[in-house]
Amino acid sequence: MSATPIPEKTSYVVRFAGDSGDGIQLQGQQFTIASAEGGHDLATLPDFPAEIRAPAGTRYGVSAFQIQFGGDDITTPGDEPDVLIALNPAALVVNLPRLRSGATIFVDSDAFNAQRLKRADLSSNPLEDGSLDDYNVIKVAISSLTQETVKPFGMGSKDSLRCKNLWALGLMMWLFDQPREATQKWISAKFGGDAQVRDANLAALNAGHAYGETVELHHQIHPHPTPEADLESREYRTLTGAEALALGLVAAGELADTALMFCSYPITPASSILHTLTGLEDAGVATFQAEDEIAAVCAAIGASYAGKIGVTSSSGPGIALKTEAIGLAVATELPLIIVNSQRAGPSTGMPTKTEQSDLYQAVYGRNGDTPIPVLAARSPADCFDTTIEAVRIALRHMTPVMLLTDGYIANASELWPIPDLDDYDPIAHWKPDADASGNVFDRDAETLARRWAVPGHPSFVHRVGGIEKDIDSGNISYDADNHQAMTDLRRDKVKTVADYLPDQELEAGVYGGLAVVAWGSTWGSVYQAVQACLNEGLAVAHIHLRHINPLPANLAALLAQFDSILVPELNDGQLVTLLRDRVRLDLEQLNQVNGQPLHVATLEERIRHLAPRRIQEASNE
């Protein structure tokens, strides 16, 4: 067994893995908080099965949580873990392919018995059969050490094993010199009502930490404190994409000075937005859990019709069910926010795995000529601003807006510089004053919006519906020319959104060589890959689209300044098709659909293949 120590770095990638019932996600979340308190930049990747409590010890029941943290500018959870901590044989074998050779693996040696090996479909013990020779393996009897620790608190052997995640967490906190105070506080609050459980868990956390300090691991391992990140002087917090999106809705409602109604039906991975928004009536937000996806979007449309900001949220399969109703909102010109936390498809697909494969659905997926604006968030924290932008567009133009996020950024967390709402412009809308009068279907010449006249107003009593309406009066119309005019209007209305968008700019890089054009959650990976390749002297740039429909007006001119263009996506090639249609360029594509965030190394390899060196630029200067 080789004993390569962990190299000294400014940032590390750690992966926690175990059974879905082992509390792995909790372990990861607490480590995340500790890392933030330690002043690190960070990005996380919760990676768990759809089964809530899969049979113990099976490969498909393995839950994992990966975090990259430290003093660097971190935008991804990292391609390859420096350290894996595996609480059972299945967690080891499932995650082994992610590790580079020489990586450090902590295993719970108590878990490698005949029965558990069989559960993991292993015919021999990897701790003994030489299959781990390329790794720095550290065997720790985590289970029995945990049981020993919590014995004095009078817990049974089964209950005591439930503390082993915190024991292992304590050991990792020792290894990376992370503060334990936040976790200790959390344990005290969580188990405050049961002193026995509270004290046992605190003891387990501290014992894991003490084990690192006292046991002779030094020939293999020693503490690796990481430098603090170079952060701007302000307040930060960690938050997930789902939390950021929910807060974006809360903020947008306030910026529009209008109450917001969030109507949804539970679905993975979108439900946490609903959970975050409950109980916030005093912040102007109410939630309605509908009987199904269709009722959810319909109730949101009803809310918008009655003057609130109607929002519905789901994932691909649920969005498919909402499709007809979205058409109704287009026909009746009502503001509506549709959030799609994308997951691997088709059909049920892989509910807990990420993908970007609903772009076609968002842009094209309705009957009739039914365009809507489509936006995509690029990171957990970016969900906040993108959500505010989506609400702004919906209210300004009186249109449904699709907001795309995905399972990765919905669940992942990062450090967020907390904004002040006073720094944002108010969100405007065209609701008539109490004493106003006129026609509901008068239009703003620039936004093409109609009035948002709602029931209760005595001067705008009107009827509206899904049947084609007369462009002036709003009454039912089957007139041929009128339908042409209304179709043109609906198209032009979405086009006018582009008039309000800022010019598309480079995230990073130089003009002339290769442009990497991406959207949504691949931002972090593309950012890292482009930075690395720029440092190698390649002529590459990163362009990241928030606005998918309409595209920014200057995009075609911007892309014309590059020799070649690469479009990496977590789908089989959807944005690339849209760009071929709308921008008409020769485009390269990179497509990854394995349920994981975009692999940085793969993208770097492709960039190296396509991007020229920056020799000319250097000689010109």
């Binding site: 002087s233 307040e235 109450a259 005093d282 009987e291 319909c298 809310a303 907390i418 519906g465 899904g466």
Partner: protein
């Protein structure tokens, strides 16, 4: 305010139902009800789905929303939750409300959202040209069931009771005397009120309810129920409904025969769901129960929806942004 007439609630739109359609008389009864109650146009909303019945909002001069097939209860729920001060009506049919939209009707009733739901039941799909519907009787011949339908019909009232509805009434389209008071009662009810209106589709299912509604025999084939009054009917008002404890069902008896006296006749209790179930299960030759069959007080869903009004919302939102694990690097 001077007296209003049904015409005061008519729009300038040409009504486009078939000549002789039962919908005309329902529309008139709705407009009359609004006029009688001096309903505020601005605060009244009619929400409908798809089908012949669902065109009604275009003809009533209030706010109106013609939505998509089956979804009117869901849209109306959103409207009512967004603004509980509005008087929200849902207009649907047997196909719209009990077939494609059955789920939403079920949940609107279960939640007890304060909606006035009018279900036009003509036991046929009219707008798609005459296919059998979920309330069509077994054996209904139609373009999609040329040898007679084989699936059992659903009974709107039994469906409503099963969903926990707090109000169910039944009325006849052309009954300009009986229908408006039922509509007014539905409007007054604090909760989901379902009114089944037997509607005559003269093109595709003409006179399907004749065995119940034909004028000549109506006194024998219908029983108008009134809370607190005995279940008496008949041309000579000499028939009544009595509970048969052996079969646990209602039976028709004649006053003065076989020693039957008024005291033997059941008194209608609209709060009793078991009695409602029995009244809804009556089949010929027993009379069909009409009027308010079931009505109980339950809290309306929207009454506890907006628990707290926002005060100092900006400060509250800024506070929410700072929730969680703060890292102060100032």
């Amino acid at each position: 305010m001077s007296e209003l007439s049904f015409k005061d609630y008519a729009t300038d739109q040409e009504v486009r139902w078939c000549p002789g359609c039962g919908d005309y008389s329902i529309l008139k009864a709705v407009q009359k009800t609004l006029a009688d109650l001096k309903a505020d146009r601005a605060n009244t909303v009619f929400v409908s789905g798809i089908g012949c019945s669902s065109r009604l909002p275009y003809y009533v001069d209030t706010y109106g929303f013609h939505t998509i097939h089956g979804r009117a209860p869901a849209v109306a729920t959103g409207v009512k939750l967004a603004n509980p001060d509005l008087d929200v009506w849902v207009v649907t049919g047997d196909g719209d409300g009990l077939s494609i939209g059955g789920n939403h009707l079920l949940h609107a009733l279960r939640r007890n959202v304060n909606l006035n739901i009018l279900l036009f039941n003509n036991e046929i799909y009219g707008l798609t040209k005459g296919q059998y519907s979920p309330t069509s009787r077994i054996g209904t011949t139609s373009p999609s069931s040329p040898t007679g339908s084989i699936d059992a019909p659903i009974h709107p009232g039994v469906f409503a009771l099963g969903a926990g509805a707090s109000f169910f009434a039944r009325a006849v389209d052309i009954d300009q005397k009986g229908l408006p008071p039922v509509l007014a009662a539905a409007r007054a009810h604090q909760g989901a009120a379902l009114v089944e209106i037997l509607q005559n589709c003269i093109v595709y299912n003409k006179d399907v309810f004749d065995d119940v509604v034909a004028k000549k025999t109506a006194a024998e084939t219908q029983i108008q129920v009134q809370h607190g009054e005995r279940l008496i009917y008949g041309t000579n008002r000499n028939k009544g409904l009595r509970l048969n404890p052996q079969t646990l069902s209602l039976e028709s008896v004649i006053l003065g025969e076989d020693g039957v006296s008024e005291a033997d006749i059941l008194v209608h209790d609209e709060t009793n769901p078991t009695l409602a179930q029995m009244l809804l299960s009556l089949e010929a030759p027993l009379p069909a129960a009409m009027g308010i069959i079931h009505r109980v007080d339950k809290p309306a869903f929207e009454s506890s929806f907006w628990d707290h009004k926002p005060t100092q919302r900006r400060a509250r939102v800024n506070d929410l942004l700072r929730r969680g694990n703060l890292l102060d690097r100032r």
